[in-house]
Symmetry: C2
DNA sequence: GTACACGTTAAAGTTCACTTGAAGTCAACG
DNA sequence: CGTTGACTTCAAGTGAACTTTAACGTGTAC
């Protein structure tokens, strides 16, 4: 089995070793086993870090991710309390989705201004999206 | 014309007055005109705040938003430098989009576990998304 | 055996996006 | 005229997510 050191994992995940230690410290990652004091990981950590990364990008806080991966997923607790949390988070995600989409259309509009009427086009785009005033 | 005070704007935008002062301070909002020392806004500010809000949600930093609304949109500068920035930001947005979508599908999968086999279902979902190990 | 790369912890520092607190200004009300 | 309430500025504080620093340990290479 490929035992990886902290910096190997960090390099592959695009993180710093300090970040991995920090994640472990706050309970987002399980305590890694030690080989003479040093952390050793196997490759499954990478998938887990990918999930954390995705969740981060999707606007979850580290705390929320810790709740998700430590409490909600592995616990067979029938408590409907986390259902509310997930429900709220799903709603948040869909508003986030629409915000990302409208932001993309704004940027695409601005990008499309490659004609000679650059200034005008940008100005129109700005007005369309409510960035410049309608003075 | 409806001249609004800072707290009226704040209430309507779902922000605190301190946030508006802060936005003005860092140049994200133009210096508001003063009526005997106090800021006065007209309703166009709300649209602008909405754009800022959308951009925030879409993962832009306040600094990036300031560049977008102050430099890129209103300037007829043909400098292709901001084109690169926008290009990068568009790419970021599409990866963000896919992250949001996969996060949503993860949460939806977890939510769907409302049968008697709750523990198993959650566990399967966790494995499917690489949250629990394949030990 | 000692130099060196890489690891460790604990504590303090950094950045971002605000918020809070102190001290003061201003207009309207009684 | 005084007090109330909403505003002002400026400085310091906050929380999240890390990073940096200092002092120390460990295994390999020469």
């Amino acid at each position: 089995m490929p035992e990886m050191t902290i910096s190997q994992v960090a390099r592959q995940a695009g993180l710093r070793p300090s970040t991995l230690r920090y994640y472990e410290e706050i309970g987002l990652l399980p305590t890694a086993r030690r080989r003479s004091g040093q952390r050793r990981y196997d490759s499954s950590i990478l998938q887990r870090l990918a999930v954390i990364h995705t969740a981060r990008q999707a606007g979850f806080t580290l705390n929320e991710i810790a709740i998700l991966v430590n409490d909600i997923i592995p616990n067979p607790s029938p408590s409907p309390q986390w259902r509310d949390l997930l429900e709220r988070k799903l709603i948040e995600l869909s508003t986030l989705l629409s915000h990302v989409q409208s932001m993309r259309s704004l940027l695409e509009d601005v990008m499309r201004c490659d004609d000679p009427e650059l200034a005008d086009c940008i100005y129109q785009t700005g007005r369309k999206h409510g960035i410049v005033g309608t003075d």
